[in-house]
């Protein structure tokens, strides 16, 4: 029989002690790993998504909201801006590229984004099958959308108004056709259905025409006439936001201020806004980590107390083992094995619980924002945590088993 087996039997022979120590360990480990994973993955997701763009221009409102809606697609837009107003910016010397985006419709909760090809290039989104959109009402689907809605090239669907999957108004007249599916990018593109700007404009123009249709059919015809022949119509075209990448760092300094002070639009810097948001999250993360650390210390204390108690209770058994020929060192090893078993099991269970939490949050985020979190293998920092816990357990056990060295075998056995 190995010492390990005896240590294991000893550990499970006190189920209530075991349960208490395990629960405390489980709680602290799951908290730490969960919060670490969550903040790390959110951080990574956010950074990756804002990386391609330096500035967003949209309607006046909260800058954070503008960034969240136009770049990350997790909030409602602040409003629309006239395409004409930003046209000049697209040719500004400080600007490398400016990509208009327009949105406001969804298909089963996934946003339909009207934009230019440049948008896909900036996220390194490549086609995995099919072709790019060319005509209005042709879309390419992000990998996650395609997977979740089981979309194939050639499928068609009807979009509905608004950004959430509710029973809102539908655009029955203009079904979209899936022309291509994108490879996974790990960025927001995976959650989007991407089409050209005209599709968005036409879907909504048509809505207006419908209402006109009833009151004045002639006006409708005139308008159609205008649209095809008169470029003046362009002046009415609206987009939701303009995503800008600067050519020169000077742009970062001058343009946002200029736009905010001199136009009816606002410019927001995604890097800055997200940093601010993460700063807020960061203090929350630190608080939770602090709590988890406190629980960890309490769990080490609980291991210490329960081992101290059992070593006292088992004094005679330890003396008996000495008569069997076990040395003091072997008895110490027995106690250490028990403490370390407990710590290790606690860590493993806690780790799984933490991942279970991530999975749960991922399901929620996926359902409400279209973002998914990854279930990652143990990471270096988590192995450090394991090391810390094993070290604490070793310390607690050594402190608890000091009496082993002072064990008077003869006296203990006679005292019975």
């Amino acid at each position: 029989m190995k010492l390990g087996y005896l240590a294991f039997r000893n550990m499970v022979s006190k189920p209530l002690n075991l349960l208490l120590s395990l629960l405390l360990l489980l709680l602290s480990v799951s908290l730490v790993t969960f919060v670490l994973q969550l903040s790390q993955q959110l951080n990574g997701q956010l950074s990756k998504n804002i990386a391609p763009f330096d500035m967003v221009i949209g309607a006046k409102g909260s800058p954070l909201q503008l960034v969240l809606s136009a770049v990350l697609h997790i909030d409602a837009p602040t409003g629309n801006i006239k395409l004409k107003e930003v046209a000049a910016l697209q040719k500004h010397p400080f600007v490398q590229i400016a990509i208009p985006v327009s949105y406001g419709d969804n298909y089963k909760g996934f946003r339909i984004l009207g934009t230019e090809y440049g948008y896909l290039d900036h996220y390194d989104a490549e086609l995995s099958e099919g072709t790019h959109y060319e005509q209005p009402f042709e879309v390419v689907a992000g990998s996650n959308v395609a997977q979740r809605l089981d979309l194939q090239v050639g499928d068609s669907f009807i979009s509905s108004h608004g950004l959430a999957a509710t029973n809102g108004e539908t655009h029955d007249e203009h079904p979209f056709i899936v022309k291509g599916i994108l490879k996974p990018t790990g960025a927001v593109v995976d959650q989007l259905l991407i089409t050209n700007l005209e599709s968005i404009w036409k879907a909504h123009d048509h809505g207006e025409e419908d209402s006109h249709d009833i009151t004045n059919p002639h006006e409708e015809e005139d308008k159609h006439h205008d649209e095809t022949l008169n470029s003046e119509h362009d002046t009415k075209k609206e987009i939701t936001a303009l995503l800008v990448k600067f050519k020169s760092p000077l742009g970062m300094v001058q343009l946002p201020r200029f736009i905010n002070e001199n136009t009816s639009m606002q410019a927001a810097l995604p890097g800055f806004e997200i940093q601010r948001l993460l700063g807020l999250l960061g203090s929350g993360v630190q608080t939770i980590n602090g709590i988890a650390l406190a629980i960890l210390l309490v769990s080490a204390l609980s291991i210490f107390i329960s081992l101290l108690k059992t070593i006292r209770e088992r004094k005679q058994e330890l003396a008996l083992l000495r008569t069997y020929g076990l040395s003091t060192g072997q008895l110490l090893r027995l106690a250490l094995l028990e403490g370390l078993f407990l710590a290790f099991i606690g860590f493993v269970l806690g780790w799984f619980l933490g991942r279970l939490g991530i999975w749960g949050v991922s399901l929620y985020l996926q359902a409400s924002y279209g973002y998914a979190l990854k279930l990652k293998a143990p990471e270096l920092v988590e192995l450090f945590l394991l090391g810390l816990i094993l070290a604490l357990a070793t310390l607690a056990t050594l402190l608890a088993s000091r009496s082993i060295f002072r064990l008077n075998v003869a006296k203990t056995l006679s005292d019975g």
Binding site: V12, T323, G325, G416
Partner: protein, 208 residues
Amino acid sequence: MVETLNLSYTYDNSEALVFPDISLIPGEHMLVIGPSGVGKTTLLYLMAGLLPTLKGTIAIDGTELNTLSRKEIDKFRGEHIGLIFQQYHFIKSLNVSDNLRLRQSFPKNTNDTKRRYELAERLGLTQHLEKKVNALSHGQQQRLGIALGLIHKPKIIFADEPTSNLDDSNCTKVIDLLKEEAKICKSSLLIITHDQRVKSHFKNQVVL
């Protein structure tokens, strides 16, 4: 098998316990008899190397305990000495079978299943092998205590008051059992007791 010379032991702040010399040849049995309080158990623990030899010498099977380090004494005891206690001591988290298996595992890792079953059968413990030790009756616990003293076939078995708390018929039974098992293991048996009933069973006797 056991040779002691000029042995005495002093506990803190008390008078010295002086023991007569003991000489036991291999395969023979011996009874050390004396009233309570004369240091019988102390003598047993001295011979088992559980107390340090302060004065005099003890040799077990030709090995003088004084010459061994603490760790070597632990190992020597585990291998060559079997102890049967007045109060039974078991590992409570293990069942009967695992208690026996544990005794076989130290200091030499052996797992002699056949020996375990034979011994359990002779001591009437076969049906109780999977039971927790706390679930055993008093008599079963005593037999398990005896089994733990000799499962590893020690050269010498020390038994401390094995017959106290037993009625006459059980007393005779236990002594016969000890003698029989010692014979099977080819071990020497040294019993320490105040129980006068045991006297008639042993030729070799030392009075404390």
